[in-house]
């Protein structure tokens, strides 16, 4: 575990982002150890490059960008033999209700893991980190139109894979009155 010697407020902010970074890394690579390594590497790089952070309010996007670069570097370096859709889902356990929930979460994670890397990155940045399209475009260094098209494709695939878990189609009728 690195000892972060940042000025106190920045150090606190960085620590506060660790769990978000880890979740994002997990959604990209599907492996706890690797996600942990990526977050560690990201933190080290953030420390080394801290002078480059001009606007503190952009810390999150800046960190996601560093994490993304670490992830890309890993993919280039490792060229993993196994496709990410082969990454095993974590074992489910516990009582029935928990098992059902765990299975649902596993199925979602498997579906996300099967997405092409670019689509997976976009959908997780938008849905998990709730970033604006423009921020995602900055982080991934791609045009905003590409963000939107990747998101469209990712969501279309996920809809096809996940929504069948719910009710079967039947006759439609009443119209909703109000949507907030």
């Amino acid at each position: 575990m690195i000892d972060l010697c940042f000025p106190p407020s920045l150090k606190k902010q960085l620590k506060g982002q660790r769990n978000n970074l880890y979740r994002l890394a997990m959604s990209w690579c599907g492996d706890r150890m690797l996600a942990d390594d990526l977050v560690q590497e990201c933190m080290v790089k953030a420390w080394q490059k801290r002078q480059q952070l001009k606007e503190r309010e952009k810390l999150n996007a800046w960190l996601y960008r560093i994490l993304y670069n670490c992830w890309m570097e890993y993919l280039r370096r490792a060229k993993p033999m196994a496709e990410l859709d082969e990454v095993p889902a974590e074992a489910a356990g516990g009582p029935d209700g928990m098992l059902e929930r765990q299975q649902l979460a596993d199925r979602v994670r498997q579906a996300v893991a099967r997405l092409p890397v670019g689509q997976r990155e976009v959908v997780t940045l938008v849905d998990l980190e709730e970033l604006r399209y423009a921020e995602v475009a900055d982080i991934l260094e791609i045009p905003i139109g590409t963000v939107m098209s990747r998101l469209n494709r990712a969501r279309k695939t996920l809809r096809g894979e996940l929504l069948h878990l719910q009710a079967p189609p039947a006759i439609a009728e009443t119209v909703l009155r109000r949507v907030k």
Binding site: M1, K15, L128, Q166, L176
Partner: protein, 232 residues
């Protein structure tokens, strides 16, 4: 309104779900949605996928992380609420569980509490819980009326039966309560309603009901603002 081609339609719906449209674009698209049931269904699907992705990746602590000693962050707490609510949704989708939930209340400690603001969640179609929900809401409103209390009764899964005209046994009570307390609101989850509609079930709601796109998002957003959460 001109007909949207497939590509722009998908992009627009995604942008709407992600809150990326400006007010004018949003207004135009909502007008189209009003006339087009297929589009509304697509929007529901997109929102459900967003909820599912969030649900699948809760904001856990990093295993073995010694640096985050304060425990749960605001978002991890919120994620636990998502988990709690989704358990209700899953119950609605896949199981027919009739679990007896304990009355549960909490508020995120990481946010500034907003005094006496309560989200009362019902995810069960048991009629006895309808009465319990209304009684709890009234008790809160009565007790804290002077403090400017506000209560949202949020329903999803079986809980929307409280607000469906075809299933509720307490329509008159809802109406009377709403007349008495302006700060009482009833909310149904659009995702649940959509599922019911797919099954061919009637989804006409009592007049006092409002519809939120997703009960999960609704509750989490209010928790982030300091509201107290109670489950019936």
């Amino acid at each position: 309104m001109k007909k949207l081609n497939t590509k722009s339609r998908e992009s627009l719906l995604n942008a709407l779900a992600d809150n990326e449209l400006d007010a004018k674009e949003q207004e135009e698209l909502l007008a189209v949605l009003d006339e087009d049931e297929l589009l509304r269904n697509e929007l529901c699907d997109i929102r459900r996928v967003k909820d599912l992705v969030k649900y699948a990746y809760p904001l856990d602590e990093i295993p073995g992380d010694q640096t985050s000693g304060r425990g749960h962050t605001l978002l991890s707490r919120a994620a636990s609420v998502v988990l709690l609510l989704l358990s209700g949704f899953i119950g609605g989708w896949a199981l027919s569980s009739n679990d007896d939930r304990q009355l549960d209340a909490f508020r995120l400690s990481d946010v500034e509490p907003d005094a006496m603001k309560v989200v009362l969640y019902l995810g069960d179609s048991d009629p006895s819980k309808f009465q319990e929900t209304l009684a709890t809401a009234e008790k809160l409103l009565k007790r804290y009326e002077q403090n400017g209390t506000e209560v949202y009764v949020v329903t999803s899964a079986g809980g929307v039966d409280l607000l469906r005209t075809a299933t509720t046994s307490v329509a008159a009570d809802i109406s009377a309560l709403k007349d008495r307390y302006a700060s009482l609101h009833f909310v149904a989850c659009n995702n649940t309603l959509f599922n019911l509609k797919k099954k061919g079930k009637p989804i006409q709601l009592v007049e006092e009901a409002e519809v939120a796109p997703s009960a999960v998002s609704f509750v989490v957003n209010h928790l982030k603002k300091g509201w107290t959460y109670m489950a019936i």
